[in-house]
Symmetry: C2
Subunit: 460 residues, 2 copies
């Protein structure tokens, strides 16, 4: 009827405009949603005077972008069999339309709206199951040295190409950076590109993944989740595992900001440690309910905005949910949660990246804190998306600098360094020698003590 | 003067056309240069009837593409200091000109034309240096289990973004694939993004890198070089280390094709093992001389085309050079080189990717050969460049399938699989349980025997 009144042409234009409007609004919401970050101030780890500057950074500035989609996944219904890719076609990648190789994958299974969300069947005896398994499998110990737990670093990204050309390049540099740190520190990596649970898409996707990995790998003592936009900038810093002996969850943050202020950025879930035990499973179960997408996540978002300090309006995110969980159930969880501000288990990039030259001048790797941050985390940059919360040039340039800052610590092992923090080229800083093993390894990263094989002790 | 004759406008147009022509010719040469691949036929590993089909694939087909450069690195002379990224700027990645963040890095040092190229100072006593070091460093053994040498897998890509939008995405999937295999097999990874020696650019860049890593890591027994366009498709296959006890270099190939035919694709240097010893250093020194770019590499290319069977005309590449080296100096090197055709240490993608469904139907992981190839190597696809030797759609579609084929073997550990080999989405194939540790791990990949911690034995 509308069509008869307005004419088919105008009708289609109106429909298209409505679709565009929906997409724009959705993009706006998503921008705010992933604009989260832990910034810190106070004491040793993160100087107090940065606090105001940091808070200023976290007034989300959202510039609207045209929803121009470069790589758009469309339902093509193309035959997915091997014969489908034809015999001919251009060799030119630049003129290639990547949509051609996407297949129609059908509708998602709709979850039963009457069934409350669950990460999986309740497991009440995981500690016993795990200790039994460890006892039966002494060749897979959960400690790989005295005070050295077996750690699995978990990270990942979406399975599809980034919406903008350079996003995947930065994901590549980011995983190389993690490979380097983890190789030096005897840590294994799991890079996830699978969405295990469509209801828990986006930042909530880590929860089903973490649970699955904990339960599959009883030999893993700590699971270290790390966002793809976080980079290691101190290759020499070994985590103080002894400090966390009595704790099950370690995040960068401050007690006051979480428990007193209920500040939504009082902690950061972009880089955290979770011990493999019953407590962790129970925590995941308690954390998950705000996650399922749609009405639940939206409504939960409103609760979080109302309850937490400084939180903008957007759907529930895992970090805000964690703040809320801890602040409202401190008695249940608080005694096993370590909010670490002594070093940058997560370091907000905004207050670090302009100081790299000063750090090089005055300090050295191994400190992990504001003098030489362990992790520089590019919250809000979102290089894989269409637009971020900061100017693109600033983000990419600083991501290159952070990458090079960390990479220099690897290259110096081999006698090289980047020509500058902005340069991809490297230069030699130490001549070749016919006695390479006599070379002094200044940072001790060539054969790091924390990597040496020691006695295997099965500690449960 | 030219400018006065033709006018500045036409003059600039002519200059631009000349530059474009140079780029086109260079791209043409590079296309041919990296069109190399080992294909195999015969005996057990690679059926003979595929030989003709394979040889057909290796008539290089070169389609000229417009030198339209999407991401072009220009000398901007921009200030590389932190203040250079400005305060404003768009948040939109799509409209961002990535040239803005490149810096002027100056000219390369020109090598002395009178000085013969060398990878480094001659080291005559590496075996002694290395065994001394190992004796003094029992916590860094070169064998991490009986018959299990310490292996370092080395791969990498150029430090700049790929010239086409999807290239980096495939590099990312490729490294994830390698991370998965190596995690299961207790192998460490070194991902290189630094050009250590400008003279040895391109595929020759691996030589200085390999030498540097061998000399820096005496604890590494085998260095496994693997191209970025090669993917693991058998996650369960452990290399038969015992077989190589007496050998120092293992490549996929055939004795007849190398020593009798001098066929340029008689072996493949896209995936090979090199033992860390004096022999390897000497081999690298003997291999390197055809590599230095410019006149040396061009002239060497002519020699190789003349001397090797089936080799097209292009500058010297490392693979052809290796065939030539072995064929002409068999007495020196041959007894320590194992040309492996029993499984696909390198598997030419062209004869494998259409058979994945048949493999799934009839076979299982752990075979490593034509029934379930260890490695599928996408020679000639070049997704990081502007154009490859094959239609883009075929390459990308098959790379996705190969990735998924391998990824399914990882996902099944956790009860998931891709919806199809063409689909990025995954589906559950095993329900969650409250007794996860009782689950039967069919492929034995969850806690693989080759990963179990065993006695550390310092074998030299």
């Amino acid at each position: 009827m509308i069509e008869r009144c307005l004419g088919p042409h105008r009708c289609r234009r109106i429909q298209r405009a409505l679709r565009h409007l929906k997409v724009t609004v959705l993009c706006l919401v998503l921008t705010v949603v992933v604009l989260r970050g832990t910034i810190g101030a106070g004491k040793f780890g993160t100087p107090e005077q940065d606090l105001d500057e940091i808070r200023q950074h976290f007034q989300p500035s959202r510039k609207r972008a045209e929803p121009h989609r470069v790589l758009e996944e469309i339902q093509t219904g193309a035959d997915s069999s091997t014969s489908g890719d034809g015999g001919g076609g251009s060799n030119n990648y630049e003129t290639f339309d990547i949509n051609k190789i996407f297949v129609d994958e059908g509708e998602e299974d709709k979850p039963d709206p009457n069934k409350p969300y669950t990460l999986g069947p309740k497991i009440p005896d995981w500690d016993e199951q795990r200790s039994d398994w460890l006892a039966k499998n002494p060749t897979f110990p959960n400690f790989i040295g005295p005070n050295k737990p077996r750690v699995l670093l978990v990270t990942g990204s979406a399975p599809k190409p980034c919406e903008n050309p350079v996003g995947d390049h930065y994901l590549l540099k980011s995983i190389k950076n993690k490979i380097d740190y983890c190789r030096l520190h005897g840590i294994e990596i799991f890079y996830n590109m699978a969405l295990l649970d469509a209801e828990m898409a986006g930042f909530w996707a880590k929860l089903p993944l973490i649970r699955k990995l904990l339960l599959s790998h009883p030999e893993v003592e700590f699971l270290w989740w790390m966002d793809s936009d976080a980079m290691f900038t101190d290759m020499a810093f070994e985590l103080p595992w002894e400090r966390y002996k009595e704790y099950n969850l370690v995040m960068h943050g401050w007690n006051e900001m979480v428990y007193d202020e209920k500040n939504w950025i009082g902690l950061n879930t972009g880089s955290f440690l979770l011990r493999n035990n019953q407590w962790a499973l129970d925590l995941l179960d308690t954390w998950a309910p705000m996650g399922p997408k749609g009405k639940i996540r939206e409504e939960a978002g409103k609760v979080l905005t109302r309850e937490l300090k400084g939180r903008p309006v957007f759907e529930a995110d895992d970090q805000s949910a964690m703040v809320y969980l801890l602040a409202t159930q401190r008695d249940t969880w608080g005694n096993k949660v370590y909010l670490e501000s002594g070093y940058y288990l997560h370091g907000y990039w905004g207050i670090l990246v302009d100081r790299y030259e000063e750090m090089i001048e005055n300090y050295h790797p191994g400190l992990g804190d504001h003098r030489w941050p362990l992790v520089t985390h590019f919250v809000g940059c979102k290089p894989c998306g269409k637009f971020g919360d900061y100017p693109v040039e600033r983000c990419l340039k600083q991501m290159d600098r952070a990458f090079n800052f960390g990479d220099n610590q690897i290259l110096q092992i081999y006698g090289f360094t980047h020509k500058s923090l902005a340069s991809r080229k490297v230069k030699r800083v130490r001549n070749e020698t016919s006695n390479p093993l006599e070379m002094k390894d200044e940072l001790g990263l060539l054969h790091p003590a924390f990597k040496a094989v020691k006695l295997q002790i099965n500690q449960v």
